[in-house]
Amino acid sequence: MQASGHIPQELVVSLKELVIRTLRLEDIAPEDIVDGAPLFGEGLGLDSIDALELVVAIEREYDVEIPDAEVGRRAFASVDALADFVLEKQAAKKTSHAVG
C-alpha cells in the first residue's frame, strides 16, 4: 500500500523502534527496516502471533485500534503503511471528537 500523504519521518522511525522493541528483534536496527517492505512473510518475516503483540503496543502508544487481521493486513503492509494508518485513524478520532 502506498502512503496517502506526507508521513513524518519521526513517526516512521518511532514505529520501527516500536516493532523492534515489542518483538525483541535484537539483531535489527531501525535503518535495517525498509520503509515500504512487508513486515510479515517475505519482509521482516513476522508471523500472526507477532501481530497480536504489535496490536497491543500500537494501541498503547498511539491509541489506535486494529480489531482484526483484515484491518491488520492493510496496517501491517509495511512501516509506511502503518504510519499512514496511524495518522489516518488519529485524524479520524480528532474529527469525531470535534464534531461530537
Binding site: 500472526s48 497480536l52 497491543v56 480489531p67
Partner: protein, 155 residues
C-alpha cells in the same frame, strides 16, 4: 497460583512397548484439562462457534520429566497464564496421583479467528465477558484484565 485439576488413567492403547505412555498422548491429556476449564466458563468449541469464532491451538510444547506408566492415574493440572495479547495460553502439569510426582509440564497457545480464518485482535460482547470471567477465576486480583491488557497496564 490457581489450578484446575482432573484425572485420567493411562490406558493400554496409550503406552509403547516399554509400558511407558507415548509422548504424543500428553497433548491429549492437556486437552482434557483445558476442556474441564473451558466447560466451566461456557467457552467450549461449540460456544465459540455459536459466536462465529474458532480458537485454534497455534503453539504447543511439553517438557517430559518422568514417565507415566500403564494404569497410572495421572492428575492433569491446568492454569491460564496472564494474557499479554488477545490469546489464551494454558499451562499444564501432569502428576502421578499416587505420589504427586511431577511427570511433565506443558503449554498451549490459542488465538481467536472468525469462521473464515481471519484472526481477531480484540474481544467483544458475550465472549469477552466469559473470557473475563475465566481470567478473574485464575487472576482474582485483576477485575478488568482484558481492558488492562489492551491498555498494557496489567502486570
Amino acid at each position: 497460583m490457581q489450578w484446575v485439576e482432573t484425572t485420567t488413567t493411562v490406558r493400554f492403547n496409550e503406552i509403547d512397548q516399554w509400558g511407558i505412555a507415548w509422548y504424543g498422548h500428553y497433548f491429549a491429556w492437556f486437552e482434557l484439562g483445558r476442556m474441564k476449564v473451558l466447560e466451566r466458563f461456557a467457552l467450549l468449541p461449540k460456544d465459540f462457534a455459536e459466536q462465529g469464532l474458532i480458537a485454534p491451538v497455534v503453539r504447543a510444547s511439553c517438557d517430559y520429566l518422568k514417565s507415566a506408566l500403564t494404569n497410572d492415574t495421572v492428575i492433569i493440572r491446568t492454569h491460564l497464564a496472564k494474557p499479554q495479547t488477545t490469546s489464551l495460553t494454558f499451562q499444564f502439569e501432569i502428576m502421578r496421583q499416587a505420589d504427586r510426582d511431577l511427570l511433565a509440564r506443558g503449554e498451549t497457545l490459542q488465538v481467536l479467528t472468525r469462521l473464515d480464518g481471519v484472526m481477531i485482535y480484540k474481544l467483544k460482547g458475550e465472549l469477552k465477558e466469559r473470557v473475563e470471567s475465566m481470567l478473574r477465576f485464575f487472576w482474582p486480583q485483576h477485575s478488568r484484565l482484558i481492558d488492562n491488557v489492551n491498555a498494557r497496564s496489567a502486570d
